[in-house]
Subunit: 552 residues, 2 copies
């Protein structure tokens, strides 16, 4: 048994595409610091998020459970009181679980009130923060419109910026995520034509370096054992980055869009609706891609530099030898591929995530620098962290499985043969446009190494891609008669998954096995006609003189 890990640095970027790293083959973007981490760990090449949208993906990551199990299916849908989180599992085995950055958690205020949980109590605060203790909480979307802020909480980042002398009430919007136009006016990053301008902020004050500094502060003072979830908002939109990153890449570095005119001809209705929305239309324009993607690359380059800074600090302080580091993202970004922008659907640019796991222990030496192409899901991280910390994974609650065997050269024989991801678009205008009821606006992806199948509730046909003959996923076979058997196989897998045991969380398999058939020793005697059929020990309580007679 390896020695338990006592420090876990769990780094999540937001909307970082799996293939926008040089270690994953990007043709122009160099990410040497992330690559160096991959060279010391294992890079998983088939890691899928549980839902290609921030909130749902993260709630799965933090609970180790599918969206269909925890129900927080979209941004802003509260994670119900009662769902156990990584923090709950780790605290049981003595490890604290701290947050530096974003979770996209919405507290179940109604459930907390019902159970009398005060948000300012220790327990209430953890429930409200999906199990983390808070070092710095900043969800990073301080958007503001006529109906107020998107996020009504206080922004530590905005407070930091104000303390540094940035003007106004929302320097996140007016400086960190905006440039300046020719007339000295705010050129907001929300408007993509400004994406090539430098953000009007000192680079060291922008969000990624600021959060990195907070993580270094955390690490400096933290008492092990700890897990620190360092969770960046970037390279998530608004697509704008400070100098010098704004000028590092240009249209010549933008890979061609992975898309085909056939995708627009009679597409699956849901795919068609997403193509037709404002985002899809915008990202289908070359000028948008040519503005946005260089900024996105610059944001990633800055992230990589901050990884260099952070890992450098760990090196200097001797922490690289006893800290596990996991680096991932919550989902990808279409960036115009498949005539789409953002995430939402299940093409690889959206649903696949980068995932690097560095385990400092000698047991992982043999796999350093390797890749693993097993079907991995983001729910596996919770299980991996519990395993790393020396705990037994409570597999009646956590649906993911530990990835550490892959690092330790013990590939599990019964590893999953398909991965599942989900998307709930009930709240989107596409559901309204398609006339889909809220409970039918749900998609399920089932993917193995060859086939990717997408089931849509609401009476739509499925989608299907052959990733072997069509790795770019340009040809939807969902209505192909000759693929009937493949579709049936994928439907059977989805059916099996749908029936999975996901809620029997109050009784472990071990407890069940231990409890089998013990009720007779507590006096429950079934199918017994005559005392002589039983061990006298179990019938002893039911013998003796009858005492006073009342039956007359």
């Amino acid at each position: 048994m390896p020695q338990p890990i006592r420090r876990i640095l769990f780094i999540m970027f937001d909307q970082l595409r799996w293939d926008y790293l040089s270690c994953a083959g990007h043709p122009h973007l160099q990410t040497p610091h992330i690559d160096a981490l991959a060279a010391r760990g294992v890079r998983f090449t088939r890691a899928y998020c549980q839902s290609p949208v921030c909130g749902a993906s993260r709630m799965s990551t933090y609970t180790g459970r599918y969206v269909h199990s925890h129900g927080a299916a979209y941004n802003g849908y509260p994670l119900k009181v009662g769902e156990l989180t990584l923090g709950d599992h780790l605290r049981r085995i003595g490890m604290d679980s701290w947050l530096v950055g974003k979770t996209h958690m919405r507290a179940d205020a109604e459930g907390m009130a019902r159970l009398g949980l005060a948000p300012d109590s220790v327990i209430g605060a953890r429930v409200a923060e999906c199990g983390f203790d808070i070092f710095t909480r900043d969800d990073g979307l301080w958007a503001e419109g006529p109906d107020g802020f998107y996020d009504s909480r206080r922004s530590p980042y905005n407070e930091y910026l104000k303390a540094q002398g940035y003007d106004g009430e929302n320097p996140w919007a007016s400086h960190a995520n905006a440039g300046v136009d020719e007339d000295g006016q705010i050129a907001s990053g929300w408007f993509m034509r400004h994406a090539d301008r430098p953000a009007n902020i000192r680079e060291e004050d922008s969000e990624t370096p600021w959060l990195t500094a907070r993580a270094m502060d955390f690490i400096e003072q933290a008492q092990a054992p700890w897990l620190c979830h360092l969770s960046y908002i970037k390279p998530h939109w608004p697509y704008i980055v400070p100098a010098p990153y704004h000028a590092m890449y240009g249209p010549e570095h933008v890979p061609p869009a992975v898309r085909d005119a056939r995708e627009r001809q009679n597409p699956h209705p849901i795919f068609g609706a997403f193509q037709a929305n404002a985002i899809g239309r915008a990202f289908s324009r070359d000028e948008v891609r040519e503005k946005v993607i260089p900024a996105y690359m610059g944001l990633i380059k800055q992230c990589d530099d901050q990884m260099g800074r952070l890992i450098g600090r760990l090196e200097e302080t001797g922490r690289m030898g006893d800290t596990m580091i996991v680096l991932t993202s919550d989902h990808g970004d279409y960036l115009g591929d498949h005539w789409l922008g953002e995430k939402d659907l299940f093409h690889e640019p959206s649903v696949k995530v980068p995932l690097i796991v560095y385990d400092p222990r000698p047991e992982a030496d043999a796999t350093r620098g390797g890749t693993c192409d097993a079907l991995v899901e983001q729910i596996d991280l919770a299980a991996s962290f519990i395993d790393a910390a020396g705990g037994a994974v409570p597999d009646h609650i956590v649906e993911g499985r530990s990835l550490l065997p892959f690092l330790h050269g013990e590939v599990p024989e019964d590893w999953r043969d398909f991965a599942v991801s989900e998307y709930d678009y009930a709240t989107s205008p596409m559901a309204a446009k398609l006339g889909v009821a809220p409970r039918d606006a749900r998609l399920f992806m089932v993917a193995d190494k060859r086939w990717k199948f997408i089931h849509a509730e609401g009476g739509f046909r499925p989608m299907l891609f052959d990733m072997e003959s069509d790795p770019q996923e340009l040809h939807d076979l969902g209505d192909s008669a000759e693929h009937g058997e493949v579709i049936a196989m994928m439907q059977e897998r989805l059916a099996r998954w749908g029936r999975r045991m996901s809620q029997r969380t109050t009784r472990s398999d071990a407890e069940i096995l231990a409890g089998r058939g013990g009720s007779d020793r507590r006096g429950i005697l079934l199918g017994v006609y005559d005392e002589g059929e039983c061990d006298p020990e179990v019938t002893a309580k039911y013998r003796g003189t009858a005492g006073q007679r009342f039956d007359l």
Copy 2:
């Protein structure tokens, strides 16, 4: 809109077979008081429990959710903290929810401790009692063996018996559920050969009259609006009943067993394992049936007489005019049919339940005395109670549907076309014998008005019955090649059910519809290239002079 109901008397018997009532056609057993209630209400002839075992069935009834949704899949499996109950839903609309009798609830002590819920606080007590406030809690199984009591709590019924002068520490066992043999020794009801003896207790002190008196006490002092769950342990085993009920029925009143020699020839392995257990073997013996069934009938007869007493009191006090009464059971009893005893599997004697709903309001006048053959599930009761009390059913949480339209002559057009029941036998010796892992020891029934399909996890073939040509369910068609299409249809239904939205409980459909597409008004601007593409109102926060320049 009917006036809201302010008093709901929700009566549950335990293990009362649907067809052991004269209104349901029993050839020998007369139940005039229950029949009279049916004559004033509607009797549902196709009501299924959600699981043919006490605990799981009840947790579904009290939450309005499938077992697969709440996870308390077997007796003694705690209902997890966070699951909403009938009590939670009714209290929201101002109705209290009181318990008189049994629930089979096991509190989620670990979950409560995690959330800091003290069992003796008001909230903690409700969470621990699946949402009820307690008037009298008595689960009615005070069995005792070498490892102690089956139920470690205090028994109010035992305390009552002791106060009445019954001897010993556990008069439930030694008097209420035991007779006296020829030598003056305890003849325990656990040993079925004693089933024809009178229990050694005054009839008025036996469990059913005792609990009826507690219900009358409750009603006398209760302030409306209230729901009172009057939940009897009987006619559940031990099969023994006080005089004169012990002598009312004899072997001549025992209906022939519904069973066929073919059922023992190469049965489905799980069916075979249940046939082969001690219970199945015992109930396959005629002497067992001839001892037990007359006692079971006597217990029911006593229950019926107590219904006469209770309803008589409601009549006298004028409460019949403003009290809704629902009468049901948590599951049935095989009683030797199909070579089985007890419940567990899905033949009609086990999975079907009696269900009578009496609505005192004039809107229900037209249907009084009628029957309804719609496919009804026990989760429909929670929805019905919320509806009766004037609430809107929160259908993102409660999976059942209100039955009141059937009483009010408004048959819903989109009523379900199949019913589902489940059984988790992980804890049973049959799982060990069959070599089934705890998470695979699960069965799912899908039934429509013609077909009953049973899916077994763990690699077994399905079971199938044609209820039209084989209403006694003697011929399992699960391996019939010519029924492949029916099996595929049922599998598709089960798959659809498995994917149902059961956990998105923190956001209602109405909230989702109201929230569609509002994020731009909180400043999230997606797919926007140029300010001119947006309403100036939503871009207003992102305009203005840039102030100090930091981007240089």
